[in-house]
């Protein structure tokens, strides 16, 4: 039986993401597979050494969009439960910025759903990161979410 979306766990957090708790949340006796994605802070960007990152979000809309992603995942893939957590504030190199766990009776759906979830999150959830380098800071190049019914269609900036 597919689980209702209410069994999903969607979080924005200011402190370390508790990955084990997310995995425990999606693990049920009906599942044969859990696929996780751990997005972490890299030590360089375009060859410049990164010191740390700061994430900010339009929190109410970000949570709404993350819930939409979970709902889409349920609609598209035969999976069981979804847990998505994104961290905000200052993150050091190596720390987890986003964590996704998806359980399913069979592994193929869990893999595909997890890939879909992170790809969609990066494109459509209003969260921004600022990269701090030794000689300054910049807002990271991002993706422009698709907007409805406008005459112009555009992709990423620059």
């Amino acid at each position: 039986m597919p689980t209702a979306a209410s069994a999903d766990l969607i979080l924005l957090v200011q402190k370390t993401i508790d990955a084990d708790a997310l995995v425990r949340h999606v693990r049920t006796g009906a599942d044969g597979a859990i696929v996780t994605f751990d997005g972490c802070v890299r030590n360089q960007s375009h060859g410049r050494r990164t010191l740390y990152l700061e994430y900010e979000a339009y929190e109410s809309m970000a949570l709404a969009k993350m819930h939409e992603i979970a709902a889409d995942v349920h609609a598209k893939f035969p999976i069981d439960r979804v847990a998505i957590a994104h961290r905000l504030g200052r993150l050091e190199i190596g720390e987890t910025s986003v964590y996704i766990a998806i359980s399913a009776p069979h592994r193929a759906a869990a893999f595909e759903a997890c890939r879909f979830a992170i790809d969609t999150l990066k494109r459509s959830v209003p969260i921004w990161k600022k990269e701090y380098f030794e000689d300054g800071a910049v807002w990271a190049d991002g993706e422009l979410p698709p907007i409805p019914q406008d005459t112009q269609t555009r992709k990423s900036a620059s």
């Binding site: 994104h86 910025s97 991002g142 907007i147 406008d150 990423s156 900036a157």
Partner: protein
């Protein structure tokens, strides 16, 4: 401003505007309340910020707007009480 109506009353609406990322730095704040002529669209709201700070103009093509937490076209009409945000390209994950 359009020319005054015969009644000499211009209906106005008030919307809450949120800025994020680079736009927040340019605006010098995360949010403000803006009063507009009734019937204004998101495009006209953005134009009021360009008029105040010309640097906004260069971001017009790399920003998307949202109305009440949904992505919205620039032609979307505004209602009093709307929460409008101008969102730079997203870079979460």
């Amino acid at each position: 401003m359009p020319s005054a109506t015969p009644s000499n009353v211009t209906a106005s609406i008030r919307v809450k505007v949120l800025f994020f990322g680079r736009l927040k730095e340019i605006a010098g704040g995360a949010e403000e309340i803006v009063e507009l002529t009734s019937g204004s669209r998101i495009e006209e709201l953005f134009a009021t910020f360009v008029a105040r700070q010309p640097e906004f103009a260069s971001y017009r093509r790399s920003v998307v707007a949202s109305r009440n937490q949904e992505f919205a076209a620039w032609s979307t009409p505004l209602d009093s009480g709307d929460e409008i945000a101008f969102l730079p390209p997203v870079s979460g994950g």
